[in-house]
């Protein structure tokens, strides 16, 4: 049993067996990061480059911790301090880094498909850490793992993704992954923040939050990306909060309140209120812990994979 994929570029078209294998391998690594000595020698001698063309703190830190806890050699590359500023093309940057003999590349870029393109032109194994509004597969995997940890299974669950769906790579990867694993997926948000082709994703669409909440076993609350001008899509933050904000008051009305996820960083009192974010239904901090373990599983499975495995 090994992954059929050579790169993790997205969850669209990734077979169920591969997702299952990643989720099933994660607990072994979760056990490692809960030890006093949180490090194993598994990827000794493997060099991994974190190639971040777009700023990121938590995803980069999570990947870096996962890499270091597997004893890989880690190189960080941030676009702001690199020769990208001197006019070098994306492909030249990647080829130059690869010429230094690296084994894996973890990459974030603002252009959808950038890691897909490089993975075809280079020999390293690529992991997409976010490409524009396209995909962010490890975030979706850690969301799925966190849900499964609480509910036991993904099959048959009703999961609703709430908020800025149009700008969200997290939403897309979650939709692809959850559907592959047999969950029933819905999205909810103001029409101006839903992608115009939302039906083609095969999800239910709610524009009324209370209807969405009574459908849901699990809700994944997305951040309003103020820096991406999502604010222009609705009249005011206050109005967004009134209509789509997840508050304790709203959840109290439900006979079975859903499990609450949020990929972070939180805009407290905008998309989620503090009493929910810090309340018993929230697994937001478990997501962060699980994120390191899931990324260790992905790095292990891709980093030790043999061509003969496929």
């Amino acid at each position: 049993m090994a992954l059929s994929i050579r790169h993790l570029l997205g969850l669209e078209n990734v077979p169920r067996e591969d997702i299952q294998l990643i989720l099933d391998t994660t607990p072994s690594f979760l056990e490692v990061i809960n030890r006093p000595i949180k490090k194993v020698p598994t990827l000794q001698g493997t060099t991994i480059v974190n190639l971040f063309f777009e700023s990121s703190t938590r995803t980069r830190v999570s990947f870096e911790l996962a890499e270091r806890r597997l004893s890989a050699d880690v190189v960080n590359f941030a676009a702001s301090t690199s020769s990208v500023n001197k006019g070098e093309t994306l492909l030249d940057t990647a080829r130059n880094i690869e010429a230094m003999k690296v084994d894996m590349v973890v990459m974030r870029h603002s252009v959808p498909g950038a890691p897909h393109f490089l993975s075809r032109m280079c020999t390293s194994a690529f992991i997409n850490a976010g490409d524009g509004a396209h995909e962010h597969p490890t975030q979706a995997l850690l969301d799925m793992y966190s849900i499964r940890q609480k509910t036991g299974a993904l099959e048959g669950l009703n999961v609703c993704i709430i908020g800025d769906i149009a700008h969200s790579r997290v939403a897309r990867s979650n939709i692809f992954g959850l559907k592959t694993m047999g969950a029933s997926v819905a999205v909810c948000g103001p029409p101006s923040l839903l992608p115009h082709d939302v039906e083609s994703l095969g999800v239910r669409v709610f524009t009324n939050l209370d209807e969405a909440l009574s459908f849901s076993d699990v809700i994944n609350v997305l951040r309003i990306q103020l820096e991406r001008k999502a604010g222009a899509a609705f009249p005011s933050l206050r109005e967004y909060r009134e209509t789509f904000g997840i508050t304790g008051k709203r959840l109290e009305r439900l006979p079975n309140p859903p499990l609450v996820l949020h990929p972070g960083p939180l805009n407290r009192e905008v998309e989620i209120s503090s009493d929910v974010a810090d309340g018993p239904a929230s697994i937001i901090l478990e997501q962060v812990t699980n994120g390191v373990a899931v990324r260790m599983a992905v790095l292990y499975l891709l980093g030790t994979r043999k061509e003969s495995d496929s």
Partner: protein
């Protein structure tokens, strides 16, 4: 897979376990500070049998843990097939304990070496002893067992298969001929 010889049937298997248990008792006058840690997969079941036997004859419950050494192997990338790591489950602190590592077969010694590395990351035992159901020789690293159920002389292209009821339906130790030459490091 061709069976060359049945080294032990169910009765022989049970006797081998009890021989191992008595060797452990002879060396460790008291079991007070002793813990058993089985190496996944089959070592776990051998360790369970040893614990049950010690409980029966000495009325002492020896703490039991399971160690997965996949992440510590020196051949993770040399294997033909990718090995999958499983959980290490040791629900107690091993520091200051007499740890008895348990495995089914001792062959190249690389698994035992990896297990020693893994233990180092979990604590500092007072001492570590190695209990093996079958020693088949052909060591590649300087490792030896403290307790051995059976010594079996084997050829490189042969394999020892230990079967345990819990996952293999019956208890047995078999000497089998492998269809192709064994991969280095596989034990």
């Amino acid at each position: 897979m061709k069976i060359i010889e049945t080294i032990a049937d169910e009765l022989g298997f049970v006797r081998t376990i009890s021989r191992l248990a008595h060797e452990i008792l002879e060396r460790n006058k008291t079991l007070e500070n002793v813990v058993l840690i089985g190496i996944r997969t089959r070592g776990e079941y051998i360790a369970r049998r040893l614990a049950a036997y010690l409980e029966e004859v000495e009325s002492v419950t020896v703490p039991l843990g399971v160690l997965d050494v996949t992440m510590y192997r020196d051949d993770v990338r040399g294997h033909l097939k990718q090995p999958l790591p499983h959980k290490t489950e040791i629900p107690f602190d091993i520091s200051g304990k007499t740890v008895i590592l348990v495995d089914d077969v001792l062959y190249t010694g690389r698994t035992a070496r990896a297990a020693l590395d893994a233990l180092t990351d979990l604590g500092r035992p007072a001492c570590v002893q190695l209990a093996i159901l079958v020693d088949r020789g052909h060591r590649q690293v300087p490792i030896r067992a403290d307790f051995t159920g059976k010594n079996v002389t084997t050829l490189e292209h042969e394999e020892i298969h230990v079967l345990v009821k819990e996952i293999d339906e019956r208890d047995a130790i078999l000497l089998v001929e492998t269809p192709e030459p064994q991969q280095p490091g596989k034990d």
